[in-house]
């Protein structure tokens, strides 16, 4: 009798528990969203209630205080250039490392892989000096070049294993016999076959670069060149008391990635799993 009961109600009951757990997990984000529409009094008295009206005044204010279009554009520039650089340069290198398996390349591959375990942050002072010496200080390019350096390690690894497991070499050999150069073969024949792993690399690097705070903090000083997170950081100091003004800024700080996630969640979840397990 009891096992029959378990069979009939066990699963729905279990599912209900999971839903409750998911809702509890979601509360902080729900709270962030509803608070942006409230006055301080409303937010203190009924923190979890739906807003009584959709008051966008907080947003308008945050939009201008943060100079949102500019910081958004800066973040976008840094992210797009970094991700493009990572995808292009890493896939090129991985192609060569996968197709030319001589001792020197094997060494290079290990040399890149070793970087996964090294906490490169320990060299920040020297990196700071280097960026200064290169004249990149307070340029968006500073963040981009550092991102390409650190972000390429995992990308090379993912591209490399994809070349070995899923890109047939026969096409490339045929192309070479037809007189195709290495660069042309890579670009016209091998690169287009990389789509699935490019998706993975793009997703992982976009999340990393967009959410990166330390590099912009160190390398971008002037307000004209700052990114979304720096602007949030700047304003938290000034608005910590006036918290209903701050919440729209926090939400606008995460909104672009939230939209990216809502639109692409299937690919993002797949990409995260693939990035972790393809090793």
């Amino acid at each position: 009798m009891s096992s029959k009961l378990v069979r009939k109600w066990g699963n729905p009951l279990f599912e209900l528990c999971m839903i409750v757990a998911a809702v509890i997990t979601f509360i902080p984000i729900y709270y962030l969203i509803v608070t942006t529409f409230k006055t301080p009094e409303d937010a203190t008295l009924f923190p979890l209630a739906l807003p009584s009206s959709l008051n966008f005044a907080n947003y308008m204010e945050a939009w201008t205080t943060m100079q949102y279009p500019r910081v958004f554009l800066n973040t976008l520039i840094v992210t797009v250039t970094s991700v493009l650089g990572i995808v292009l340069f890493s896939s090129m290198a991985a192609y060569s490392l996968a197709r030319r398996n001589h001792a020197f390349n094997r060494f290079l591959f290990m040399f890149f892989l070793a970087g996964m375990m090294v906490p490169f942050q320990m060299g920040l002072v020297n990196l700071y000096k280097l960026i200064n010496a290169l004249g990149l200080m307070d340029h968006l390019a500073a963040v981009t070049v550092v991102n390409i350096g650190t972000g390429s390690i995992i990308a090379i690894f993912l591209f490399h294993s994809f070349f070995l497991s899923s890109v047939p070499i026969e096409l490339e050999e045929a192309a070479f016999i037809d007189g195709c150069s290495v660069f042309k073969t890579f670009w016209l024949i091998a690169f287009p076959l990389l789509k699935p792993v490019i998706a993975t690399v793009v997703i992982l690097s976009t999340l990393n670069v967009w959410n990166d705070f330390m590099n912009p903090l160190l390398f971008l000083q002037s307000r004209d060149n700052n990114v979304i997170l720096l602007e949030v950081f700047r304003n938290v100091g000034q608005f910590s008391v006036d918290w209903t003004s701050l919440f729209p800024m926090l939400l606008m700080g995460v909104a672009p990635l939230m939209i990216f996630y809502l639109a692409m969640q299937k690919y993002i979840i797949k990409g995260v799993a693939a990035g972790a397990l393809k090793g």
Partner: protein, 298 residues
Amino acid sequence: MNTKMRLLKREFDYQILILPVLIFYLLFCVYPFLSTFYYSFTDYSNMKLTNLKFVGLENFRSIFDSDLLMISIKNSLIYALLMTVFQTTFGLILAVFLDRKLKTKNILRSMFFLPAVFSPLIIGYLWSYLMSTSDFGLINSAITALGFEKINFLGNPDLALYSVVFTQLWQWTGWAMVIFLANLQSIPKDLYEAAEIDGANSWRKFWKVTLPLMQPSVNVVAVTAMIGGLKVFDIIFALTEGGPGNSTETIMTAYIKTVFNEGFYAKGAAFGVVFFIAVMMITMVMMSFLRKWGENTR
């Protein structure tokens, strides 16, 4: 001769393809890393930028005299260990639960994963409001409404580090879950059928079939949680700035303070070297431990 030249050029072209990424890697990762070793033996500071003197192990000794640095190592170890253990455990439990046939499976998965998309900095600011002891602190309002005393999550030195860990488990458990789920789905179903025929209950099936085959994902999640935990910065910066006292200082926050606020470059470099050696040792120990576990369960 012509074909020989052509083949040689081809090999050359292949090596050229590696060059761009190698330059970025050497310049922005390897060079700063290696020069740290050099500076760790000098008297380099913001007061002394040139004419550096070799001071032997002086900088390494000064680490032991610094409360900030010693506490930060301890805190980072506690933080990384807690993150590793609980992120792996909770992620695994969540993944096994969501691997069952549920109608809302996909929505649940997306909801648990959502916090991982956000920047830890902003998550930190959000939680500093949620955990606040003032009137708008959501968690403390709930606690007082239930008739208990307010808890000073971030202001109590004995509690602050664990509060930070809590927010990060909230943020990253879904990430671990996604990786575990992908691994779970790759386990052939007939293994479970075979175990059922042998009379195994679901608990035994988990221990004897699922867990051993989950080794690849457990490895990845545990090792990245450990390395990421030792490197933690953003969330601390946003939630506590290392306080109260030094109770939530981590290796990275202490490093940044030593180097960029106090200007002790060489001391920071020595600390970085210690950090590097610690990460290497911990990772090695963990990997051999995980490998042994993998061999034993097989």
